[in-house]
Amino acid sequence: MDSVISWLATAGMAGRAWLNHTTPDKYTRQTLELSHDSLLEIGNGLFKSLPAGVDSASLDSALTRSREHVALMARLVDQKDSPDFRTLLDSLSADETLVKQLADSIEAKEQ
């Protein structure tokens, strides 16, 4: 779960920096694509190791949604579409909060 949170944070930070015009387009797009691919890879192995009683459906839907948001953000960088990008970034922040809550509940169950 730490890796999932880390990649969501990466996408969020890279996105905010791009909105502030402080990072190049290509770096932002590549970093968002890398975040998407890493989330996909981690997500594939994550559900095999979840403890019993975890709301895996919520986690799965949050992860899928955030991956889609990150992929769309990467495309919007090329189109230089800031308003839609900002909306997606806000949604990604909400996903991030949800994933953190689920991570806390997983940690509590493991203890």
Binding site: S6, A9, A14, T22, T23, K26, Q30, T31
Partner: protein
């Protein structure tokens, strides 16, 4: 006047040349994952490096021998050859990592993927080695490396809690993730106490024709230069602890590390990070390539000097040519430079006894150093840090491998 200028330049270049991909990556990973808790490892590594660099310069100034010369002479060729193999393998991996750092810095600036940069970057490093002089390599890249001071600005701007920073200088264990913590401690020590720096420094002292009159200057350069350099590493860790850790961002890849200064310095942070890595890794790549060539040439008794024309020390020039070109190959094959960095730093720690123990024997030998041989404090500090580093390495490297 000439010595004051040399002293100033020595300190400035030590600061500018201190950071490289190993110290930045390990400190950023440590800060992002464990907050300030691993600051003690940087302190310990820097302290040990101050002593080792001072010893390297003193050996050269008093005995007119580089470390390699003296080691071969004192312990014989078979033992030297054993050390050579170990040191060259580790230094080669570090060189791959540094070339990777330059290539990645260019990737984040241009968008062109790092494998495409590997060969042009290697050729540029080689060209500077081929055409450049020792002072160009020693001073040029290190002066450009002063851009790394931006890490200190970033750390201060983030407003660290100084009492927590201070208390982290005393070692402590985390509540969880102890294997990773140990591995990072080992990697930080490996990044700080790089033996190639000693070989480079002692060879440089011979290139610059140091004699006994340089002993005080050597002490000041080693003390101030390495101390300020250590502050730079600590600044990277503090900046990562304050900018990345609260968000849960871990530094597993280079593009993630590039976000390190965007919180503290929103407008220029990204570009300052890229330029810092570009210049710091470039300087380190030049120094490592030279250190490997020195190692071979001094060990085998060939003529050597970066100030000679390549035709006058052909075998010396041949070694760095081959090494630099070979180091580009793993990068062209898309080997991840961050993984190579972490592996090479941990291996550096594990191999420290091989490089340092014979060196300590040399530094206590009255034939080489007369009344300037080591006192018990320098022996004790270096021996204890090397022991800690070695023990941590043999425990944490297997644990890290098992834990994936």
């Amino acid at each position: 006047m000439k010595k004051i200028l040399q002293l100033t330049l020595g300190i400035v270049t030590s600061v500018g040349g201190f950071l490289e991909i190993g110290s930045v990556t390990t400190a950023a990973q440590a800060g992002a994952r464990f907050g300030y808790q691993l600051l003690w490892a940087i302190l310990l590594g820097t302290l040990c490096l101050i002593f080792l660099i001072e010893m390297s310069g003193r050996l050269a100034a008093v005995s007119k021998h580089t470390i390699v010369d003296a080691m071969r002479e004192r312990f014989g060729f078979p033992f030297f050859f054993f050390v050579l193999i170990g040191m060259v393998i580790v230094a080669f991996l570090v060189l791959v990592a540094e070339l990777g750092g330059i290539s990645f810095a260019l990737q984040i600036l241009t968008g062109i993927r790092f494998p495409w940069w590997a060969l042009p970057v290697s050729l540029l490093v080689w060209l500077l080695m081929w055409k450049g002089t020792f002072s160009l390599i020693e001073n040029g890249a290190s002066l450009l490396g002063l851009v790394t001071i931006s890490f200190v600005v970033a750390a201060f701007k983030l407003g660290p809690d100084w009492s927590s920073v201070g208390s982290s200088l005393i070692p402590s264990l985390p509540d969880s993730d102890k294997a990773n913590y140990g591995f990072l401690a080992v990697s930080i020590l490996g990044a700080s106490i790089s033996p190639y720096l000693m070989y480079f420094y002692s060879s440089g002292a011979i290139e610059d024709k140091w004699d006994r009159s340089y002993i005080t200057m050597n002490r000041i350069i080693a003390g101030f230069g390495m101390t300020f350099g250590g502050f730079l590493s600590m600044a990277v860790l503090v900046a990562a602890a304050l900018a990345l850790r609260p968000k849960g961002l871990q530094v597993d890849t280079f593009p993630q590390a590039a976000l390190l200064m965007t919180t503290a310095l929103p407008r220029w942070g990204f570009y300052l990070f890229a330029l810092s890595m570009l210049f710091a890794c470039f300087g380190a790549a030049l120094e490592i390539s030279l250190a490997i060539a020195y190692f071979f040439a001094q060990g085998f008794g060939w003529s050597w000097s970066e100030d000679l024309e390549p035709s006058q020390d052909a075998r010396f020039a041949f070694v760095y040519t081959i090494i630099i070109l070979l180091a580009a190959v793993p990068l062209m094959l898309r080997v991840d430079p961050i993984k190579v960095t972490m592996l090479s730093m941990a291996l550096t720690s594990a191999s420290l006894p091989l490089a340092i123990v014979p060196f300590l024997f040399l530094m206590n030998d009255p034939i080489y150093l007369g009344k300037h041989r080591n006192g018990w404090i320098s022996n004790a500090v270096v021996a204890i840090v090397i022991l800690i580093s070695f023990v941590l390495a043999i425990i944490s490297i297997p644990l890290q491998i098992i834990g994936g």
